[in-house]
Amino acid sequence: MNAGNDHIKLTYREALKQAIREALSKDDRVFLMGEDVGRYGGSFAVTKGLLQEFGPERIMDVPLSESGFVGAGIGAALSGLRPVVEVMTVNFSLLAMDQIVNNAATLLYMSGGQLNVPVVIRMSTGLGRQLAAQHSHSWEPMYAHIPGLIVLSAGTHGDARGMLLTALQSPDPVIIFEYTAMMNLEGTLPGHPETVNITKAGIIKEGKDISVITYGAGVYKSLDAANELSGSGIDAEVIDLRVLRPMDMETVFNSVKKTHRALLVEDAWGSVNIGAEVSARIMENVFYDLDAPVQRLCGAEVPMPYPKHMEDASVPQKEDIVAKLKKMLQHG
């Protein structure tokens, strides 16, 4: 944040859009392809107006063919372009997963270092709009399992605007998760888009009593919980993992060494998830620094139900985080 870059208020949606516009303006090789990114204006209105601004060569509407157009993005990346492929939502990404895993993530290694695949794949993810079982997935854990991918989670406005620009400098494939439920949320950022680091976790709030380690939709919820608790004398540190692959464990370990306690918060289903990985690594590396077992708060292991009360109950809410933190600290 340089001087002269005055701060502005903007929504998460606007942050995403500024990133795309900046990327398109800065580099001719960049183009955006995805379902309804152009004429419709983007399913979450993120790309509204960009077709008019950049024309159909740079903003390409594609047919419903996830495997086809994600694969085409990979092919274009192999041929000197810098495609940004939008998979409308993570829910449809299984249709393209073979392309992502067996091609994008694999070609560099398998070709003995010959083929770079500089493709950026954006997907909006998560729940929160009562879209039910087939439209509310949080599949960050599945992508974080795959070597060869760089997996980013934009849990803050800064990352919503900054991650894409940095990702486009990567010679390797990058997945960026964006959060559907946060589109209308306002935040404050410097006036001009800037790249951000995409190798380190972020310390969202410093604290000394416990480390709350989270990402994505968990970030602001955890921050709210931590802020609420600071009144009652609990000083929680909040860490946004940001980079789900390869994970920056240094930041996590340093935090745990300081606080001696950790709670992992995420919306994804409760088994074989990001929290499990972080917990296991804490176990393996800083076990003797722990004053109490690391705990997780995750999504309920159900296909998402439609009704609001059930959807709300399916993922950790601020209140759940507060309650859990209180319990963990009394206990310790």
Partner: protein, 332 residues
């Protein structure tokens, strides 16, 4: 091998059939207008995809099926559910997220299921139900049952790989499957010319040796006739049939759609073909019905829709204790 069937324009129509078709289309129309209203009042949430303008397709096709036949549809399926004879109250309760809904409120608008009516969704992954429909038809064949399977999907879905695989499997295995493509010219904001290299979709049947036909989907009598012929063929030959119904959606894709991608005038032009007044006029001209009939139909439907709303309003929310019930069978 394959052929494209030419369906002669509809000829015979009696009062009973005419009134029945009219009633169904008007019920769907009114039910959906009411749903839209309830959506703006936040009684219904999530995605709501209206079928208004396309009623002739579901009504005409389903009219040609028997109660034993299987029906699968997309997330734009209120019309199909009603035409299939599902109770309006149960559907409305589902959209309210109430236990009294067909899926205990867990599915919402996009996921209506009713095993008793052999109505299998309400499927929200575009083209995801096509392979299942092939399997259901295969089961009928293997079990030597005489029922057929009827699968509705949009022209956007026909660009997905699942369309290709399903058509080929259905043809290869010779299973009794009626594939009904509802070509409403748009997939969200993507006009068919941006999603299909060949826009006369009925031509795609030849690639699989599947007999195909295209019909004016704005004329319920034509649809009914074409469907009857197609169903007859499927049932007697045991082979699949591909029926393209050319239609138009009068409303936005969903309640989140600003309709930037088409001209109002285009919509107005299509509204002149509204299937409901068209049928009404025709029946009046043929003197099969009177203004009185229309009046009492309207009254009946108004009551029915109001009762549906009352039923939904009075419904109960599923207790949170049941959140994990039905992830697996057996006691939840």
């Amino acid at each position: 091998m394959e052929k494209i069937t030419v369906i002669p324009p509809s000829t015979t129509i009696d009062r009973r059939l005419g009134l029945n078709l009219l009633y169904q289309m008007m019920l769907i129309r009114r039910f959906e207008e009411k749903s839209a209203e309830l959506y703006t009042k936040s009684k219904i949430r999530g995605f709501l995809h209206l079928y208004i303008g396309e009623e002739a397709v579901a009504v005409g096709v389903i009219q040609a099926l028997t109660a034993e036949d299987n029906v699968l549809a997309t997330y734009r399926e209120h019309g199909h559910a009603l035409a299939r004879g599902m109770d309006a109250g149960v559907i409305m309760a589902e959209m309210y997220g109430k236990m009294e809904g067909c899926c205990r409120g867990r599915g919402g608008s996009m996921h209506l299921f009713d095993v008793g009516k052999r109505f299998f969704g309400g499927n929200a992954i575009v083209a995801g139900h096509l392979p299942m429909s092939v399997g259901m038809a295969l089961a009928s064949k293997k079990l030597k049952k005489s029922n057929i399977t009827c699968c509705f999907f949009g022209e956007g879905a026909a660009a997905e790989g699942e369309f290709h695989e399903s058509m080929n499997l259905a043809a290869l295995w010779n299973v009794p499957l009626l594939m009904v493509c509802e070509n409403n010219l748009y997939a969200m904001g993507t006009a068919i010319r941006y999603s299909h290299a060949v826009q006369e979709l009925e031509k795609k049947g030849a690639a699989y040796g599947i007999e195909s036909a295209a019909v004016n989907g704005m004329d319920v009598l034509e649809v009914e006739k074409a469907a009857r012929a197609a169903v007859e063929k499927v049932r007697s030959t045991g082979k699949p049939f591909f029926l393209v119904c050319n239609t138009y959606r009068f409303r936005a894709h969903s309640m989140f759609d600003a309709e930037l991608y088409r001209e109002k005038s285009e919509v107005e032009e299509w509204k002149k073909q509204d299937p409901i007044p068209a049928l009404r006029t025709k029946l009046m001209e043929l003197q099969l019905i009177t203004n009185n009939d229309i009046g009492s139909l309207e009254q009946k439907i108004e009551n029915e829709v109001q009762q549906a709303v009352d039923f939904a309003e009075k419904g109960t929310l599923e207790p949170l204790e049941q959140l994990t019930r039905f992830v697996y069978s057996g006691p939840g």
